[in-house]
Point group: C2
Chain length 100, copies 2
Amino acid sequence: MDQVEIFKALSNKTRLQILNWLKSPAEYFPEQPNADFENVGVCVGQIQNKAGLSQSTISEYLSILQRADLVCATRVGQWTYYKRNHEGIEKLSKIINTEL
Amino acid sequence: MDQVEIFKALSNKTRLQILNWLKSPAEYFPEQPNADFENVGVCVGQIQNKAGLSQSTISEYLSILQRADLVCATRVGQWTYYKRNHEGIEKLSKIINTEL
DNA sequence: TTGGTATATCGGGAAAAGTCGATATACATT
DNA sequence: AATGTATATCGACTTTTCCCGATATACCAA
């Protein structure tokens, strides 16, 4: 993953918020039936409700974050759950400390 | 400084390169008369030569980096020297590790 | 003061990102 | 099979970013 693409992914207020919300799903989202926040993450619809942007926009934002390895997705039935990608975030931290 | 603006400043290959070149000026730039790399940094013209983009573009890029507190400028005579802003970069590192 | 050099700012055209509504796809239920 | 729900993708429009050349500003030297 190109460093530029990672920083572009982070260059948007809503995407930064999403990343932050996903740090403490239970704090920011109402409970989800049949899906554990810690396990799979939060589904697109919940994130969309919270962000207040259109469904298509949020879906695209999540895939931008995913391409940057900042979140990862799990499909379960008709839902896609997103959670933080700790490896990718850790890698970014290393980039900042060594390559920047 | 808004986090988004910091990440925007980093969302460009040339700007990332500049930041990297400024880590080891002696390695990337020819010697400068009357100005110590460590002290004041590297002047705009040298950065422009190395980057191969227009003077106006580089001048703007440097001010974008400056607004994000990633570099700082010192004017000496007709030259403006830019160097890394260690405080700002350190602050970014903290943001990544705590707020992201 | 005139001219020369270094940098900054301005105005603009092309490319990319932000964002939407509409549509497609995938899955579940009846 | 038909309908309903969740998400992804598409097409379009607006705003922002990229990058340039031209011009302005600041400083220096003769």
